[in-house]
Amino acid sequence: MGTLVLSGVARSFGDVAAVRDVSFTVPPGATFGLLGPNGAGKTTTMRMILGILVPDRGSVLWDGEQVDLRVRRRFGYLPEERGLYGKLKVREQIAYFGRLHGVMPPYDLQRADAWMERLGIEQYASRPCAELSKGNQQKVQVACAALHRPDLLVLDEPFSGLDPENAEVLLESLRLLQKYGTSLILSSHQMWQIEDLCDMFCVIANGEVRAGGTLAELRSAWPTRIVQVEPAADPLRGVLDALPGARRIPEPDRPLLAYEIPADADSASLLRRLVAAGDVTRFERVEPSLEDIYLRAIGAAA
């Protein structure tokens, strides 16, 4: 258990600045979602955390100390591009990565067996990895990354290529690691999974942090809210149009009025004015979803 702190981290490849300035903190045991479009710098940031790449500027600290090899052995990594020794048998492969992270015999094999059972791949223990399906290979990779009960597990797009059933198995495994106290950093394009799993988020684009914090913090910093009003009657539309800063959101498929209004607008006062103007059958103030926040952050960056 430890705290990961990235401060002003930057990394370029020749003339291309992959990461310009990224700072965030991952508290002990937290599950941290790293969001961003392709090419935003997520993978480069993850590689710098893991010491695969050395930052040009800034620092990566674990419990206040530079991340060295000794610390890195307590980390786990599930890269986006999966990598396994094709000819090595599943059980041996998982145990090997365990030994690389300091899990010595006989515990390497014992834990390998436990993870294979947990992930439902124990029947493939003696099969070469190359003979497994892509989904099962990903399970092997998860076991390789998690066998040593890492202090920090970095997962780059862990759900990509998984069918819903296997995605659920992976989620269960990650929840188990959360129980062990493992800090998780994961990137994903599937917001619903991220939103469900993560305590904290960081949106990066063009190598810079665009938004960060808990979902509540991100929402509180969101400058607008959505209100939905039914029916879509002209008197009600008039009240909403008159509200300073309000912007109508077209909802062609639904018989309602949807408006983006300033976050600090008085909802109770607005409701009273709407009721005074006509029959209101529905009034809802919608909190922004993680996807809304993400898309706005990315749009701001574009």
Partner: protein, 413 residues
């Protein structure tokens, strides 16, 4: 257990269990047995079939020549003259001879025209065997007397005290060459194995996982050590097989005729392995430094490719110094103290081959051995440092292969 030990153990077991290693060891051992046995088995048969000849010409000349040629040839027939140049069918009909030698006496002495299946093999032996006859014809001294005086006893003695006799010196050359070939084979096979391993880890993206856990230099070192260990085992197997094969051949042919025994002489070098512990140590030391130098180079080269199919293109240039080493080692056997050979025995990458041959056939000053080893170790460290940098960057470099300029820029970084 350190990560170095974990990777070493895994690499060692993976390599030693691999079909490539098992097949390479078995094929190598079989080749050594063949090298030892084939010359002995085929030597007699080949020599007997290629040395059947027919003599044609004046019966008196032919009779004298027959006596002189008997030491090297089997005379299957003698004829007074040839009606026309002989055909292969004519040779087959006369004891499956390989040549017909037509002897004539001219004003300037004896003249021989040989019609041979293989024209390249007779000239020297004919000339040597018939030389007394030529002198006898010119001087009127009886041919027996000329022959007797032409045979000068030469007793070559070794001033270094290393070799008991000429055959021991010849055997030392044979053994040195054998060891150099083993070094060559071992470096090629095992350095290729390192290359394949690095390429597999890169192309299957395992490298990223490994580099996240351990230092690339340590990963590289573990790979090279594991491959060197399997290389040593392979060499040990080959040497033991070679010794037993040589001894078996020596025993098999000890009862045979002189000509067969001479054919078996090369094989008997295996059995008469009079290699000193110093030479063994030298071989192991130069094997180790040579292996380290080539290992890091092959690993660095492999880290730059993106597809295993491209391995050949980066491996090709690295074979050049190995082949140069083999060629220079042959020169080293003949001229071990030539200044050029001495210089070559100091140049890293080729010195493991050249210096070892010098050590095997002559007394190399200790300072030269120490300097050569020192330069090799320094070169291995330097190459490991440079290759480590290329390896670290190359492992994570995907897409278009880097240009030479990029590689140099990487080394400067």
């Amino acid at each position: 257990m350190s990560t170095l030990a974990v990777v070493f153990t895994a690499e060692f077991l993976r390599r030693i269990r691999s079909r490539a290693f098992i097949a390479g060891s078995v094929i190598g051992a079989a080749s050594i047995v063949l090298i030892a046995v084939l010359p002995a088995l085929l030597g007699g048969a080949l020599s007997s079939s290629t040395k059947n000849i027919v003599l044609a010409g004046d019966p008196k000349l032919v009779a004298t020549a027959k006596t002189l040629l008997a030491q090297d040839f089997e005379i299957t027939a003698t004829v007074p003259a040839l009606a026309s140049p002989p055909t292969p069918a004519y040779l087959d009909a006369h004891g499956k001879a390989s040549a017909v030698a037509v002897l004539t006496r001219r004003a300037d002495g004896l003249h021989v025209v040989a019609y041979a299946r293989d024209p390249s093999v007779f000239r020297e032996e004919f000339g040597r065997d018939l030389a007394p006859m030529q002198i006898a014809l010119a001087t009127n001294v009886p041919v027996e007397r000329v022959a007797k005086h032409l045979d000068v006893p030469v007793d070559v003695r070794d001033v270094s005290g290393r070799f008991a006799d000429v055959s021991a010196a010849d055997a030392a050359k044979g053994i040195a060459y054998l060891f150099v070939m083993l070094l060559y084979l071992s470096i090629l096979l095992n350095a290729q194995a390192i290359m394949t391993s690095v390429a597999e880890e890169k192309t299957s993206r395992i490298a990223e996982l490994l580099v996240a856990t351990l230092d690339p230099a340590r990963l590289l070192a573990a790979k090279i050590l594991a491959s060197a260990a399997t290389g040593f085992i392979q060499l040990g197997v080959w040497i033991v097989v070679g010794i037993f094969a040589g001894r078996a051949v020596t025993t098999m042919f000890s009862h045979q005729s002189a000509s067969a025994s001479s054919a078996a002489a090369s094989a008997s070098a295996f059995g008469a392995l009079s290699v000193s512990s110093g030479e063994i140590l030298a071989f192991l030391a130069f094997f180790a430094v040579g292996f380290a130098q080539y290992g890091v180079l092959y690993a660095a080269a492999a880290s730059l490719i993106n597809r295993t199919e491209d391995l050949g293109s980066v491996a090709g240039p690295l074979v050049v110094p190995v082949v140069a080493g083999i060629i220079l080692a042959q020169l080293g056997l003949q001229f071990p103290n030539s200044p050029n050979v001495v210089i070559c025995s100091m140049i890293p990458l080729i010195s493991p081959f050249v210096m070892f041959t010098r050590i095997a056939v002559t007394d190399v000053p200790a300072w030269q051995i120490a300097l050569s080893l020192g330069l090799d170790v320094a070169a291995a460290v330097l190459l490991a440092w440079l290759a480590g940098k290329v390896y670290r960057i190359g492992l994570l470099l995907y897409g278009r292969p880097p240009s030479l300029r990029q590689v140099i820029a990487t080394l400067r970084a």
